[in-house]
Amino acid sequence: MSEKDDRFAVSRRDFLKSAGVGGLATAVTAAGAAEAEAQTGPRVVGPGDVPVTLMVNGKRVELRIEPRVTLLDAIRNRADLTGHKRVCDRGTCGACTMIVDGRTVYSCSTLAIDVVGKQIRTVEGLSTGNTLHPVQQAFCDVDALMCGFCTPGFIVAAAALLERHPNPTAEQARRGLDGNICRCGTFVRIMEATMAAAAKGVRRV
């Protein structure tokens, strides 16, 4: 593990100890922290800004942020990629769903310093120029959106699902999308769009 990683892992631990904010313990975070501590022991950074480099949609994003800043806030407030929304802020509603190293995460409950060196994909990275990703196109075709606030999270969840299960059963699709909530009530058409995109084929990016 590199020196940079050690430093961030420790500051995260300090953050967890002092801030007492709920919902931070994603599986990825917990495993990473334990590993880092075992190898290096505690070393504190922050509470001021620290340099953080994120790989977002294949591009390097250099930031100076406090260690407590979440992946979602770093990307929204500091990198001005505002597609993903903070809704529940507790890892419940899925509006902030991003893909980190191939797995979906709730970015509202993931610290930016924990995903340094990992490949982060957001809704902004799914389309190419004016060509929509098959899931995005299917959402437009069948009106699988209303106010649109949950939509980026659902799109990413559906795209990630289809990368893992290119031909999901209805049950697999429902399970894959159960981590997201829509308040306008677009669920029926989100299922329709997801299955339509699967039928057209989604290739792993």
Partner: protein
């Protein structure tokens, strides 16, 4: 209205399924909501709120917050001595250079309180020795009193009488985009990006609250993430944001967090009624006598229609609003109707059982007569056939095993209809068309129907129209509430685009050697009526404008919209009598909606309404701790909403009635689903649960009570 402007008899676009124009912006994350607005030098605002349900402020100390890192403005919103009426009542606010620092600084505001006794439930508030929710105001307020016919006669005609208490609970709007604004001053002029259902209304409210001319306020709402009735004014957070921005001399973004959203942005009031109702031996309703009450928290307005829809010739009703120390109610999708519908529809099934009649037959007998806006009788018949109602067993699923199946039905009505909206249309000499209207798209697809109506009038494809909405710089339109938007906006766009077409035809007529009155637009051409070959392609026609574009104002006119809708819904559920868990299997929603503008988005409104009502029936509940007055679940993990696995099969029948003009349907489909579900649960388990939500513990308790001696 000019009769030539009436809706076309054979429309090419209206009533078809047109994809949302802003779909690509929303699916790519490009759409910028208020929450996404970023301005140079922008600060973040944060409100300090009361942790207590009822208290008096004895001191406020802002000094530590003022000295905190990154803080640029601090203000007291309430004065020392002010009374606080609910957990979450705003007290002070800060603005700092990052969101995190604003949160830190808000924690440094020191407020001291004198705790006052509170009331957290309707029963506590109505008790004889209850403490006052407000030192200056009584706990209850007499509401509606109605009496029609003669109750004594009605009850004498009754062969059976049911007397029970029914109730529904408080739920929140839970808009995914929280309430909030970005405020920026340029001298004395305010520009505010607001997550609102009414940009012109928000501007008016800002002007009043800030004491500045409304002409100095511009409100922009390009995209907004749900309102459901809770976003008609800037509220305290909007005014606080504007004041912080003025103090700090910098733009400020202030979006509420999820907890604040639950505590202080409105809710659907509870509804209770003790009802005595009579039915004759042949199944005619004879009498209805009800005492009703409900709470809108620290605000009045917990009324609801009762009895709902069905014809009781002799009836009396007395309503009381009850105050408690909780956030104030606001209009929520079909205000009052889901409550009145549930209370009445459960009673209807109980009465039907007394006279041993099928619930559909019983409803047909007692529903209002058929009319264009009152299609219930036809929908009951049609729906029963389509849904397979003949397979419904009488009350109580007789099959063995823990999973019981049942069917239920219910009906609803709504007003809707159009009102004053203005629009502006420019047709340029290059053929491009822009339509401007100060309405807003709250997720219903307003931007798309603006373009569709314009395209229909001008004989152009939808893609040829540029719709501009969501800004007070565009002509006035009302707030998006009461299912009035489509019926207000569509006629205004129709009138204005037809006027613009008249003006264009007048310019083109000489070149075609005819009178303007002989010309029409279709298929991308301006041509002689009945002869498409004698004409010009749209772009060539527009070249005749030279340097002066067509620039026309117009307004909503009577004759293109109407009000009044009816709908009927059927549901099938399973109930696990060992766990109390209810699963909805199927819903059939039959809805009339006048002239359908965009079939695709109209259907989405019905899907959404049905799912919202399913949430009301089975999941949502604003839970207040009776002892502390604190909300137990101001979040989204314990305030439950349906997810993908909870969604049933939903079939929609939209009854297109073009002769009625446009009638909005944002609200009606959300009224009756919960009652249809509750009646299906009753049919499945043979036990009547007279209050929502149908949480598992309540279902189990009702079954237990029935086994122990019955609920009548």
């Amino acid at each position: 209205m000019d009769p030539r402007y009436k809706w076309p008899e054979k429309p090419t676009l209206l009533g078809t399924s047109v994809k949302r124009l802003d779909g690509p912006d929303k699916v790519t994350g490009r759409a910028r909501y208020t929450y996404d607005i970023s301005r140079p030098g922008m600060l973040y605002g944060r409100i300090v709120r009361s942790p207590l349900p009822h208290a008096k402020i004895t001191s406020i100390d802002l000094s530590a917050a003022q000295k905190a890192p990154g803080v640029k403005a601090v203000l007291a919103w309430k004065d020392v001595g002010a009374e606080l009426f609910y957990q979450g009542d705003p007290i002070a606010a800060v603005a700092a250079d990052t969101e995190e620092r604003a949160r830190d600084a808000a924690r440094l505001v020191r407020v001291r309180y004198e705790t006052l006794p509170h009331v957290a439930t309707e029963a506590q508030s109505m008790a004889a020795d209850a403490p006052r929710w407000n030192l200056a105001q009584a706990n209850t307020r007499a509401g509606t009193r109605q009496e029609t016919g003669d109750l004594d006669t009605g009850f004498k005609q009754a062969a059976h009488v049911v007397e029970q208490t029914y109730s529904t609970h408080v739920i929140g709007h839970v808009c995914l985009e929280s309430h909030g604004t970005v405020c920026e001053w340029e001298g004395d002029k305010l520009t505010a990006w607001v997550s609102t259902q009414g940009c012109h209304q928000a501007a008016q409210a800002f002007a009043q609250a800030l004491g500045i001319p409304q002409t100095d306020v511009r409100v922009i709402t390009q995209y907004m993430g749900g309102g459901f009735g809770s976003k008609f004014t800037p509220d305290s957070q909007g005014v606080i944001c504007a004041k912080l921005a003025k103090l700090a001399n910098a733009p400020v973004k202030l979006m509420l967090d999820r907890r604040e959203e639950h505590l202080d942005t409105g809710n659907r009031p509870s509804a209770f009624a003790t009802i005595k109702a009579g039915v004759s031996a042949d199944g005619m309703l004879t009498a209805f006598d009800a005492q009703s009450w409900g709470t809108g928290g620290a605000g009045q307005g917990a009324n609801f229609p009762l009895p709902y829809l069905y014809q009781f010739p002799n009836r009396r009703r007395a309503h009381t609003d009850v105050y408690i120390n909780a956030g104030t109610q606001r209009a929520m999708r079909a205000p009052g109707h889901p409550q009145g519908c549930f209370l009445t529809e459960i009673l209807m099934d109980e009465l039907a059982d007394r006279v041993k009649m099928d619930p559909v037959e019983f409803r047909i007998k007692n529903a209002p007569k058929l009319a264009p806006n009152a299609m219930w009788i036809e929908y009951f018949q049609r729906g029963a056939k389509q849904f397979g109602w003949d397979k419904r067993h009488p009350t109580g699923d007789p099959t063995r095993g823990p999973i019981k199946t049942g069917m239920g039905v219910s009906a609803h009505l709504w007003g809707g209809g159009g009102r004053g909206t203005q629009a502006h249309v420019d047709i340029m000499s290059d053929g491009s068309v822009v339509v401007k209207c100060g309405t807003q798209d709250i997720g219903t697809g307003t931007r798309t129907i603006v373009a569709m109506v314009a395209a229909e009038s001008l004989g152009l494809p939808v893609s040829a129209i540029k719709p501009e909405i969501g800004d007070t710089q565009y002509p006035f339109s009302g707030g998006s509430g009461g299912s009035t938007t489509a019926a207000s906006v569509s006629p205004a766009i129709r009138v204005t685009t037809m006027k613009a077409l008249d003006a264009l035809c007048a310019k083109v007529a000489p070149a075609l050697g005819t009178d303007a009155g002989n010309l029409m637009a279709s298929g991308g051409r301006i041509h002689v009526r009945g002869d498409t070959s004698k004409g010009l392609a749209w772009k060539d026609a527009c070249k005749h404008l030279g340097t002066e574009p067509i620039s026309v104002d117009g307004a909503w006119a009577d004759g293109l919209s109407s009000s009044g809708t009816s709908g009927v819904q059927f549901s099938e559920v399973t109930v696990d009598i060992e766990t109390g868990i209810v699963r909805v299997k199927r819903i059939l929603a039959i809805q009339d909606c006048g002239l359908i503008v965009d079939k695709l988005t109209a259907e989405s409104q019905v899907y959404g309404g049905v799912i919202a009502s399913l949430n009301f029936a089975l999941y949502e509940d604003r839970i207040l701790d009776r002892v502390t007055g604190q909300m137990v679940n101001p979040n989204m993990e314990f305030y439950l909403l349906a997810g993908m696995s909870d969604i049933p099969k939903i079939d929609i029948v939209l009854n297109n009635m073009p002769e009625r003009g446009v009638v909005g349907i944002g609200e009606p489909p959300t009224v009756s689903t919960s009652a249809a579900i509750a009646n299906a649960v009753r049919n499945a388990i043979g036990v009547t649960i007279r209050s929502l939500p149908l949480h598992p513990h309540k279902v189990l308790a009702a079954i237990e009570q029935e086994r122990a001696g019955g609920t009548q």
